[in-house]
């Protein structure tokens, strides 16, 4: 069967969504005090950088940013083999921080579960919130996002892909049916 691709969010849409998310984060947390952003590799870390830039622009204060690679925390080694392990960089203490975990697409929730396990190994945050660009449904774990760029109803055989350019800036989000 032929593969069809639809752009469900273009660059302008992504930019607007990220700006809104930045505002929501600040509103929800009453400013940027004790706020840290941690992006999930690969994709979430790039989006986290953009959200952080907006927060800094709005508040005029630095917000620490880190990246987590969840490969070591996966529950599917037996099924998928040894995937390449990326670097986890959290160059600050997490104790007492409000951590906003950033990912591109929220699907089964297993990646978020793994990322939360990873964060717990680094310290004891006061809370963890979740920000995603796309929520496509089909959760397999009791996980929900606090900040959502767009809800996209999908079938499980479809794929959602966030495309980035060479510099790591998001270009568009595509829904791929095959």
């Amino acid at each position: 069967m032929a593969q069809t691709e639809t752009v469900i969010l273009d660059q302008a849409g992504i930019t607007r969504a990220l700006t809104r998310i930045a505002h929501e984060i600040l509103e929800n947390n009453k400013g940027s005090k004790d706020l840290v952003l941690v992006g999930i590799r690969t994709g979430g870390d790039l989006l986290a950088t953009l959200i952080r830039q907006r927060i800094v622009d709005i508040e005029g204060e630095e917000v620490p940013i880190g990246a987590v690679d969840i490969t070591m925390y996966r529950d599917d080694l037996a099924a998928r083999g040894s995937l390449p392990v990326g670097k986890t960089e959290i160059p600050f203490a997490l104790d007492g921080k409000k951590v906003v975990l950033v990912d591109d697409v929220l699907y089964t929730g297993r990646t978020i579960r793994a990322a939360m396990d990873a964060l717990m190994d680094f310290g004891r945050p006061s809370c963890i919130q979740l920000s995603v660009l796309i929520d496509r449904g089909h959760r397999e774990l009791p996980i929900r996002a606090d900040y959502i760029g767009r809800n996209v109803p999908t079938a499980s055989q479809e794929k959602v892909e966030v495309r980035f350019d060479e510099k790591g800036a998001p270009e568009e989000v595509r829904l791929i049916k095959s």
């Binding site: 690679d69 490969t71 070591m72 925390y73 996966r74 080694l77 037996a78 099924a79 998928r80 083999g81 040894s82 995937l83 390449p84 392990v85 990326g86 670097k87 986890t88 960089e89 396990d117 990873a118 190994d121 680094f122 310290g123």
Partner: protein, 312 residues
């Protein structure tokens, strides 16, 4: 790129891409060792047997820590090669271990080829932790990781390895690994300790004068001289060995000013390496040990995923 080696029997079967992947993975794992909670759940539920049929302290410790930091259950067994000869065959020993369903057997053995022997006969992954005078792959990989950290690259480096080449498994693995990654290897040792045909293993030049080998080298790797292992016909004395093949601050000046000094340990201070060098600013010996854990984590992780990929 996917890793396709179920066993790590040596560096010889690995490609440059494989080595690159192992080193990159080790770089990622290294960070865990500096956390407060030095443990990730990656290999939770896996059982790793460290079967050391030959005495070893640091390699066994390093593999054990590596396994534990990945949440695997690690169990150590040891026995001397000679007791195995007298009693149970290695095959029977291995079958008995296998009956307890380990996922990985890490083996150190005095006989070259023992890990290959096991790999042919058991179903789990075999990781060679040193076999006779054949290979010691994890040591070479941690050496490469250390060199890469300090030099940024491996390509085009001049690496001098000095000592008992004949009986060294570290040398063989390093020749394969360094050559594949584009480094040039220079070997030096007494006439009784350079085996025939060693230059055929890779991009290697052979010297008998230590000074020729370390001239303008980027890396100087000194090997442990093991008087107890060799017959007394190989060397007149340790005193003479230290004079002609020992690394001291004076001859180290022949190497590049930013050359690093390595040693696989344990060191004989005052024999192959002077304490001034071993403790000097150019030594990276403890870096090697540190990287050993990361490299072994990478190896254990990578071989663990291979079976499932082959099933698909």
């Amino acid at each position: 790129m996917a890793f396709r080696h179920k066993h790590i029997l040596g560096i010889e079967p690995l490609s440059a891409e494989d080595i690159q992947l192992i080193l990159d993975t080790a770089d990622s794992f290294k960070e865990i060792n500096s956390r407060d909670i030095k443990k990730v759940p990656t290999l939770r539920g896996k059982t790793i047997i460290n079967a050391f049929f030959e005495a070893s302290t640091r390699t066994r410790l390093s593999f054990e820590i590596a396994g534990k930091r990945l949440s695997a259950d690690t169990v150590n067994i040891s026995g001397s090669t000679s007791s195995v000869v007298k009693g149970e065959t290695l095959e029977d020993t291995a079958r008995n271990i296998e009956a307890m369903s380990p996922d990985i057997i890490v083996i150190r053995h005095g006989h070259s080829g023992a890990p290959h022997y096991l790999a042919d006969r058991v179903g789990c992954s075999i990781v060679n932790a040193g076999d006779g005078a054949h290979e010691h792959p994890s040591q070479a990989l941690l050496d490469l990781m250390t060199i890469r950290e300090h030099k940024g690259t491996l390509k085009g480096l001049e690496v001098a390895i000095v000592g008992d080449i004949t009986h060294s498994r570290v040398v063989r693995s390093n020749i394969y690994a360094l050559t594949r990654m584009g480094a040039n290897v220079r070997l030096a040792g007494p006439g009784t300790m350079v085996p025939p045909g060693i230059e055929r293993l890779g991009n290697v030049s052979v010297f008998h004068d230590l000074r020729d080998a370390i001239q303008d080298a980027d890396v100087v790797m000194m090997l442990r001289i093991q008087m107890e292992r060799q017959s007394k016909t190989l060397l007149p004395s340790l005193r003479e060995y230290a004079r002609f093949y020992g690394l001291n601050p004076l001859n180290l000046t022949l190497a590049k000013p930013d050359a690093i000094v390595m040693h696989p340990g344990p060191m004989n201070r005052g024999v192959e390496i002077s304490s001034y060098v071993a403790d000097g600013p150019q030594n990276v010996i403890l870096n090697q040990v540190e990287n050993g854990v990361a490299v072994r984590m990478a190896l254990l992780y990578l071989v663990s995923g291979v079976d499932s990929m082959q099933d698909q």
